[in-house]
Amino acid sequence: MFYAIAVFAPLLGSLIAGLLGRSIGDRAAQAVTILCMVLASICGVASFIDLVYNGVPAGVISLGTWVEAGSFHVSWALRYDTLSAVMVAMVTCVATLIHIYSVGYMSHDKSNPRFFSYLSLFSFAMLMLVTADNLLQLFFGWEGVGLMSYLLIGFWYHKPSACAAAMKAFIVNRVGDLGFAVGIALVFFVFGTITFGEIFEAIGAHQNDAYQVFGTSFRAYEVIGILLFIGAMGKSAQLGLHVWLPDAMEGPTPVSALIHAATMVTAGVFLMARMSPLLDYAPGALGFIAVVGGSTALFAATIGCVQNDIKRVIAYSTCSQLGYMFIAAGVGAYQASIFHLLTHAFFKALLFLAAGSVIHAMSDEQDIRKMGGIWKKIPITYTVFWIGSLALAGVYPFAGYFSKDAILEAAYAAHSASGTYGFICGLLAAFLTAFYSWRLIILTFHGAPRADHHTMEHVHESPWVMTGPLILLAIGAITTGIGFHEEILGEHWHAFWGESIRIASTNHVLHDMEELAPWVGLAPSVVGLAGIALAYLLYMGMPTVPAQLAQSFGVIYRLLLNKWYFDEIYAALLIRPITALARLLWQVGDATIIDGIPNGLASLTSSSSGQVVKVQTGSIAHYAFAMLIGVVVLVGVFLIFR
């Protein structure tokens, strides 16, 4: 019951704010959505505690039938197990804090009810996603969050860049969704059902099923795993389909924090964990996941080092951290990936909101080259930014330390090629992460003020509705790691996760993690501290050196600054040819041929109308003549064809 309230309260809030927002006013719309979210988070946390600590049994809450077609049955149902409950608790808590923060951040905006309605509706869709009991309902939530992401990125629809970013996000996600949809179809094809419980029961029976495609035979599990991962790549912005995430920063900052850092982008990771019973039997797909995850982690971190937009730096960091989560999933340490998802949700939401607070203070300036020297004026923001960065860089005892460490240990402990690749990439990325985090802190808060006099005068700490959530998130960023580390990953992880994460009997990665050489555990911290030190050295100690470096390594610098030219390559390889093809089909196929047929027919009709009317001269002689001709013709026809 609590569980259902946690899922549906945001929907109620969204409907009230969305449909009645104009009549009840901004304040009431905010109050309603926040009250509903608070209720949802209380229920969400309560149902999590009930399940994990009070021994309430896991189960499925059935809501009704959705599709009933032949052998294809889909119900509306809420799955109540640890994986879903953790996600529900996390999503509702973070979303609640972001709702509250938005009251302050969006105070100057004119369409508050719409914004809060969207936010709540997003939360509902995300909750539907994580509580789904079958793949179709998951897909419903998946598309729901995609839609809300589109609407929220384009929230300021008067900005052309926001509209473009919203469309980009939507279209890039379509690519991934295609893979996901085909994956669902293939699951149904192999298992005859898309309900999780029934799939997982039948895992053993279909292990050796083959799937013929392009004349080659593949193991069905591998194909399903890859297809589902392609879906996850789109939503979680993995290498290749990552291009939408940095652009998504066009949305209001709370949106970036909620959707593009804490919740939606982690849906892909969640999907991997949800499908863990199947993926564990698809080693090929797992290897692919680890390699893509590792590459993304490193790749995004390199870009993050040179970006100048405060939100974009954090966006690339998100991309990179998602890569970590996929490394963990790819080596079979699903618990570690969900653990990192959890800690990341707190510290990344914290970082985004703190960045929002900075932007707010700097009169909507986002370029860090025009900041600096403000740390004394906004002490709370400065402090929580530090906490967030420490957690991100993985410094003990902050949350990121535990989860990132666990991921790298798991990657090493996997003793596979893909695991080792993930480990190396992850280690390098950890160094870069620490580096760009402190570059960001130093450039943003320290040094001489680079903003103009007018802006500097206005720099002020944000109101309590914004700093309050920041402080709460900071507490989360400090405690989630140390608090849950033992339960989630320790020896008794079975007690915590129950049946929600089921791994094959061959998967010992969590056990092996405990028996690694000590240097593996220390390495991330060491490279992290080294990164921090380097950033201090370059930006605090010798502020002129970075520019010189950028000049002397111009090629690399420009490569990174332009994001490895991904957008340009896509534009050349895909967008321009497709646009050209579309233009061709439009102008030749549609406007000329398809429109031409009815238009031509119409003008033919009207011109023949003119011809027909010409015969109508008004002269009786002509008329009589026509009649006689008619008789002759008819007699002729009759005599010839009779």
């Binding site: 003119g610 002509h622 009589a624 009649m627 008619g630 026809v637 005599l639």
Partner: protein, 473 residues
């Protein structure tokens, strides 16, 4: 002898004479009274038609059956509606002369005779009685140049058509040796023995009748006469005579000539396609709504002919249903057209309807319903008329003509819907004068029939079915 079968015709003729006498003898203007008496006479005749038994009289010249009763009632209703419409028109057009309703009565007698004709002689007599009345009616506004021209044009061309008809009758009589439908049917039972002369005669008869229903290529008079004649006369010409002539065509082709179906079918198909095409194409460019209705009626007759061409009871049933729906749509539309009067002067341009939805929403709605119905858009009655016709044709495997019919109704929809567009979306023209109650009555009655036919189609369909079976057995 059995003259009692002709009592409706006899009574109607006597009524006509009596009303004429009354009009001549009464002091003052007898127009209104004689109109009312005429409507009463038509109603009385309708009752008599319903109470007449089926049978054959006057030595096989005259026949009454379900078919003739169906047609007669339709004709009487159409004639009555026309007289009522003329009430509202006449006072403005200096047409308040008592001869007008009397002429319509006499014309109706001719049409009733046509409906009961079972011999080529009766056929000709009915047609001439009808036509002579209409020639006079068309020129009834004798001070109006256009009306006189219309009457004269119709008379000259009608005489030519009569000549063709008579020539055809004489050819048929010469080659078959009889004018009675029964005897002709027996003589033509074997199509292989039919001579070319007889066939030529049939074509001439068809041509004479096609002139009356204004089927292509005998349609040329229609736009000019429709435009020139006083509007109530046009309304009358567009309904009752069409029904009567179509009934005659059906009765002769499906009766004595029914065994020659394979031969005249091609002819009817040809005429039908030509009528549909011309009716829809030529109407597009029209700016005068009466001319538009002229082409529209040409097209409608083309559709009705499809049912005849099918040659089955279902096809004949379709024709009969089509005729009734057509009578109501047409009467209603002309009631709306007669109501188009601005500061005492009649206007006939389509552009004059601009913004009618704002100045007179009721009239605009009625006209819109008639236009939708004429375009064959469900659920209005016009759709069902077309539906029965096309389904009969398709049942006979006549796909091509059904497809052509559908395509031309698409073209037709363009100009019908254009009128609706003008009424609802164009800038408002000055309002029309207040319309007489008689026009509102006709428009509303037609509107009700057209709109709600789909709810209660059974009585009409059953009657048409009985009529078709009476004809084809």
């Amino acid at each position: 002898m059995n003259w009692t079968l002709a009592i409706p015709e006899i009574v109607l003729s006597c009524c006509g004479m009596a009303i004429l006498l009354y009009g001549v003898l009464s002091r003052g203007n007898a127009f209104f009274m004689s109109s009312m008496l005429s409507v009463g006479a038509l109603l009385l005749t309708g009752v008599l038609v319903l109470s007449t038994d089926a049978g054959s009289g006057f030595f096989g010249l005259f026949i009454t059956d379900a078919f003739s009763a169906y047609i007669k009632l339709t004709i009487l209703v159409a004639a009555a509606l026309s007289i009522v419409m003329a009430l509202g028109y006449a006072e403005h057009a200096n047409m308040q002369r008592f001869e007008f309703p009397v002429l319509i009565l006499l014309c109706s007698v001719g049409m009733l005779v046509m409906a009961s004709a079972s011999s080529l002689m009766t056929l000709y007599m009915g047609i001439e009685l009808m036509s002579l009345s209409i020639y006079v009616l068309a020129a009834f506004a004798r001070d109006d140049l256009r009306s006189s021209e219309a009457g004269l044009k119709y008379f000259v061309l009608g005489a030519l058509a009569s000549g063709l008809l008579l020539y055809g009758i004489s050819l048929v009589y010469g080659f078959a040796g009889s004018m009675s439908f029964d005897a002709l049917g027996a003589a033509l039972a074997d199509p292989k023995k039919v001579s070319a002369g007889l066939v030529t005669g049939i074509v001439f008869i068809v041509a004479g009748l096609a002139f009356k229903i204004s089927a292509v290529p005998f349609h040329m008079w229609t736009p000019d006469v429709y435009e020139g004649a006083p509007t109530p006369v046009t309304a009358f010409m567009g309904t009752a005579p069409k029904v009567a002539a179509m009934a005659l065509l059906v009765r002769s082709l499906a009766g004595p000539f029914s065994d020659l179906l394979g031969q005249w079918q091609q002819l009817i198909i040809l005429v039908s396609i030509a009528s549909m095409l011309l009716g829809s194409l030529a109407a597009i460019g029209q700016s005068n709504i009466k001319r538009l209705m002229a082409y529209s009626s040409i097209g409608h007759m083309g559709y009705a002919l499809i049912g005849l061409a099918a040659g089955t009871p279902a096809g004949i049933r379709g024709v009969l249903i089509y005729l009734v729906t057509y009578v109501f749509m047409n009467s209603g539309t002309f009631a709306c057209i007669i109501a188009m009067r601005r500061r005492g002067r009649a206007v006939e341009g389509i552009a004059d309807l601009g913004g009618l939805s704002k100045t007179d929403p009721g009239l605009a709605l009625a006209l819109a319903i008639f236009m939708f119905s004429m375009a064959g858009i469900p659920p209005f009655s016009g759709f069902w008329g077309k539906y029965f016709i096309f389904s009969a044709a398709v049942a006979q495997g006549m796909w091509p003509i059904a497809v052509i019919g559908v395509l031309t109704s698409v073209i037709g929809a363009y100009y019908y819907v254009r009128i609706i567009k003008v009424m609802y979306f164009d800038n408002a023209e000055p309002a029309f004068d207040a319309r007489p109650a008689s026009l509102s009555f006709v428009a509303a009655a037609s509107c009700i029939f057209t709109t709600f036919f789909f709810l209660f189609p059974a009585p009409l369909v059953a009657a048409a079915d009985a009529a078709a079976r009476a004809l084809l057995g």
